[in-house]
């Protein structure tokens, strides 16, 4: 029962705070000989598996490191193109680590803005009058909870589907935001939050929520 991450989005849809509490990294490192039995392709500045799922290496997993050295985008650490490198038989046997690609901060910004728009469309397409935007989005591995305040700030929490007490947690994060970000005289509204006390208190609130499974007394 775990809380994966917390995102804060301002009125305009820009990401102002992001915290990854628990990032499960399922990675698989294997040694391969020529020819490579996986089909790799370029996708979004990364090299991903397109076909050939086996042994913990799934379609969509990205190449994370070659022979123990982390790759940089589409190239190895020395700057050679990965696909070219792997076509050359003299480079084998080679040890490659595959795993889910980590989100870069740019990607997180884009995803937060994407959600901001989806939230609004969810409200527009409502078959019933007076609907809010998307408050909870469910998939088979995580649940995304969103709380929008009256001032338009969205608090987004990604958690395990079975985790309870997230509504109270969202309200608690709002309290922490107003106590340690808004009351901070050096913090400007709608800007990225860089307040130490906010970080500390958020972390402890998440710990309490995970342990208790049910946060907050009363209401």
């Amino acid at each position: 029962m775990v809380i994966f991450s917390v995102y804060l989005v301002n009125k305009a849809g820009g990401l102002i705070y992001q915290y990854d509490n628990y990032v499960p990294r399922a990675e698989a490192e294997k040694t391969f000989s020529f020819p490579l039995d996986l089909v790799l392709k370029h996708h979004d500045e990364k090299v991903v598996v397109s076909f050939g799922q086996r042994d913990g290496i799934r379609v969509g997993h990205a190449v994370l490191s070659i022979n123990g050295v982390d790759v940089i985008g589409k190239n190895t650490a020395e700057g050679k193109d990965i696909l070219e490198y792997l076509k050359d038989a003299s480079n084998y046997p080679v040890s490659i680590r595959f795993g889910r690609a980590r989100l870069s901060s740019n990607e997180k910004l884009m995803l937060a803005s994407m959600f901001h728009s989806l939230f609004a469309i969810g409200s527009q397409l409502s078959p019933d009058a007076g609907s809010s935007g998307i408050e909870m989005l469910e998939t088979d591995v995580f649940k995304l909870h969103c709380f929008q305040t009256l001032t338009g700030i969205k608090f987004i929490v990604l958690a395990d589907p079975r985790q309870s007490g997230i509504d109270a947690l969202l309200r608690k994060i709002y309290e922490i935001y107003s106590d340690f970000a808004l009351k901070n005289p050096f913090y400007s509204l709608e800007m990225p939050i860089r307040c130490e006390l906010f970080d500390q208190n958020l972390k402890s609130a998440l710990e309490i929520a995970e342990k208790a499974g049910n946060f907050g007394a009363g209401s």
Partner: protein
């Protein structure tokens, strides 16, 4: 406890079927635009979810809820998308949507030699059976709560 409406989209984004039972508020745009917006929203949600997900997913996006309604989603391996809007009391309509696909769509549309896949579904038998099925659901009541 009620079902608001149902959309069926094909893999190219064309809306093959739409029916409403208890819709209280129209979207304020034409039906064509609404279908495009709905498909676009689902496409974006699927892409969003696959990037955001901390673990590898098997089934992907299942449903979302707002303060007033819940949208249930089911996609077949052939790219056919079934979208059902219900009120908040319905927690899981995946089996319903799967039933609509395998017992109604496949039986009455795919196996119908006259129906051209990819265009609007104009099989009356399909519409009437679907209507009867929805009305017979345990969580459907003609007077919305």
């Amino acid at each position: 406890m009620t079902v608001h409406n149902l959309y069926i989209f094909d893999r190219n984004g064309n809306c093959l079927f739409y029916n409403e039972w208890n819709r209280k508020k129209q979207a304020g745009i034409s039906k064509d635009e609404e279908f495009k917006l709905m498909y676009g929203m689902l496409f974006s949600i699927r892409s969003f979810v696959s990037k955001m997900s901390p673990l590898d997913m098997k089934e992907g996006f299942l449903s979302f809820q707002t303060s007033k309604y819940r949208l249930h989603y089911y996609e077949t391996p052939s790219g056919l998308k079934f979208v059902l809007n219900t009120d908040l009391s319905v927690s899981n309509a995946r089996d319903t949507l799967q039933h609509i696909y395998s017992n109604l769509y496949v039986e009455h549309i795919v196996k119908n030699p006259v129906c051209v896949l990819g265009h609007g579904l104009d099989s009356e038998l399909f519409s009437s059976r679907l209507d009867a099925f929805i009305r017979a659901l345990p969580y459907y009541s003609p007077r919305a709560a």
